[in-house]
């Protein structure tokens, strides 16, 4: 069973067993505009919750993508190099950024669930 959580920086994390898949939300991609490039971390890198894990660039902006949870990078989405548009077209699916082996599963408890994130986004306007 997979667990989906969100951060206030508009990242999502989906837990499959002890591997967490991370990406940016639909709201984030719509704010950025057309994504032109994604800078992904190296496999094996240790990331800390709340610290920069990746960078996503559009024509007019570059944004840090912060790790929603701490862990070790086990896989990155290499297909984004050739087709960064996936981040816009399918941010929750094919536009995923990286996978982490969780260091501290309890960190997920502090994140927003689907409803809380929806409310958070509405409050932004």
């Amino acid at each position: 069973m997979s667990l989906l959580r969100y951060t206030k920086d508009h990242e999502w994390v989906r837990l499959d067993g002890d591997i967490a898949v991370v990406g940016i939300t639909d709201y984030a991609q719509s704010q950025l505009g057309d994504v032109v490039y994604v800078e992904l971390p190296e496999i094996g890198r240790q990331v800390e919750q709340g610290k920069e894990a990746a960078v996503v660039e559009s024509v007019k902006a570059a944004s840090e993508v912060y790790a929603p949870v701490s862990g070790e990078v086990t896989e990155v989405n290499d297909t984004l190099a050739a087709d960064p548009a996936k981040v816009n077209a399918d941010p929750m699916g094919e536009g995923w950024f990286l996978k982490l082996r969780l260091a501290h599963p309890r960190e997920l408890d502090g994140l927003l669930d689907e409803d809380a994130y929806k409310r958070f986004v509405e409050d932004q306007h």
């Binding site: 490039y37 660039e57 559009s58 024509v59 007019k60 902006a61 570059a62």
Partner: protein, 446 residues
């Protein structure tokens, strides 16, 4: 005042429209203590005649390079600029246009910069070049910082043959940006490959070097790459690439160069034009502006500034550098001059330069006490004189000959180089010029 279109009636009506009594009301936010009552203590407005007289008087106090036999190089070279170049760059649409942020009305600028980028890549034998930087020295410092980012290391090895100003600029950036330099002795004898260790981000060499020597850096490139470091090659005389094997063919990762020799006058050292080229895999780490090709809404080919997320106005703290500008009009002058030369003209011009330097070197070697130090050179070489070169140069200046650069000007107090003189010859050097230098040297040294 001729540059101010508003008339007194205009001002009065506009103040009324704005709803204030006087212009002072619009400066009300200035603290009273800081308001100047009258004009600053400087001369009042002058017409064109007076300004021209004033600056012409200052100009007339200088010895123009073209008025005497002239042999000075040292990183800035006197070449002939075809008449068409200066006329074209003074077209108002080039001279008075802004950075091409609105591409629909800047295709002229964007297209010539795309041509410039292509020319620089072709000359240097690299994959891609940017739209220029301030000058060769800052391009060199930017190259080192790029190597640091790419390798995640912070120690750069600088050849002793690197132009001293470039070395000094690197040192300034190293101190404040936070990285290390291992700068080698200009007197030579360096074994650069042995200085590469796991903390080395790059090795920086110059070709031809500061003393004019031309070398093959292919082996050094391999040594760098084996150790995970980058090879940066600096070229201060861009014309040399009309004759010499380019850095790209030697395995360079970054080329940082001065482009002044094409299209740009001496101008007492500025403005000039920095060239920067690298490999495709490193393009996103390249500083400076980049022009890219694309299509418009009607499907027609056009150009835009691109990959701008590297730059400071977007990344702010995370920018790859704080550079906000390129050399614009100087890059245009370079592009036009090189377009006029083309493949055959550049090759021929390089031959003329090398031929002049070879002829001059052979003549000067015959002067008693003078020894040529170079095994190889392009259009500049180093000579050891029997006396300190600085005083020889002064004595020759008195005789109306600008004989070259004494190396001591860059390394004062370094006894080992006090007798060294750098001499340059270009397509502008005549046989009479060479006569005057040879005779002058014989006189001064006897």
């Amino acid at each position: 005042m001729r540059y101010l279109p508003l008339t007194a009636p205009d001002r009065a009506e506009m103040l009324a429209a704005v709803g204030v009594d006087s212009i002072d009301a619009l400066f009300a936010d200035v603290p009273a203590a800081a308001r100047l009552i009258g004009p600053v203590d400087l001369p009042r407005a002058m017409g064109e005649i007076e300004v021209e007289r004033s600056l012409s008087r200052m100009a007339a106090r200088n010895v123009a390079a073209g008025s005497v036999p002239f042999f000075i190089g040292g990183g800035v070279y006197r070449h002939h600029i075809p008449a068409a170049v200066d006329h074209l760059i003074q077209r108002g649409e080039f001279l008075t246009s802004y950075t091409p942020y609105q591409p629909e009305i800047s295709q002229g600028t964007l297209q010539y910069l795309f041509e410039f980028q292509t020319q620089v890549a072709l000359l240097t034998g690299m994959d891609v070049a940017n739209a220029s930087l301030y000058d060769g020295a800052t391009a060199c410092a930017e190259a080192v910082m790029m190597a640091n980012r790419v390798t995640s290391r912070r120690r750069a090895v600088l050849s002793g043959g690197l132009h001293p100003h470039y070395r000094q600029v690197c040192a300034t950036y190293a101190r404040f940006v936070g990285f290390e330099l291992s700068a080698q002795d200009p007197r030579g004898g360096e074994k650069l490959a042995r200085l590469i260790d796991p903390s080395t981000s790059c090795v920086v060499v110059q070709n031809p070097d500061f003393f004019g020597e031309v070398r093959d850096y292919a082996e050094l490139a391999r040594a760098c790459h084996d150790a995970g470091a980058l090879l940066i090659v600096v070229v201060t005389e861009i014309l040399s690439l009309g004759a010499v094997r380019p850095p790209g063919a030697m395995g360079a990762d970054i080329v940082a160069s001065e482009g002044q020799s094409l299209g740009n006058a001496l101008n007492f050292g500025g403005p000039h034009v920095g060239l920067f080229a690298t490999r495709d895999t490193l393009v996103r780490q390249m500083p400076g502006r980049l022009v890219g090709q694309t299509v418009d809404a009607d499907g027609r080919r056009g150009w835009v500034l691109t990959l701008s997320t590297r730059e400071q106005h977007i990344r702010r703290e995370r920018a790859t550098s704080n550079i906000c500008t390129n050399a614009g009009l100087c890059a245009l002058a370079f592009t036009i001059h090189l377009a006029l030369l083309g493949e055959t003209g550049l090759t021929q011009l390089a031959r003329l330069n090398h031929a002049a330097a070879v002829t001059l070197s052979e003549r000067l070697e015959l002067v008693p006490g003078v020894r040529l130090l170079n095994r190889t050179f392009f259009n500049e070489f180093a000579m050891r004189l029997p006396r300190p070169a600085a005083e020889v140069v002064e004595a020759l200046a008195v005789r109306g000959v600008l004989a070259g650069v004494p190396v001591s000007r860059f390394y004062p107090g370094n006894a080992a180089v006090a007798d060294l003189l750098l001499v340059a010859a270009t397509e502008m050097t005549t046989a009479e010029d060479m006569d005057r230098l040879e005779r002058g040297l014989r006189e001064v040294l006897s």
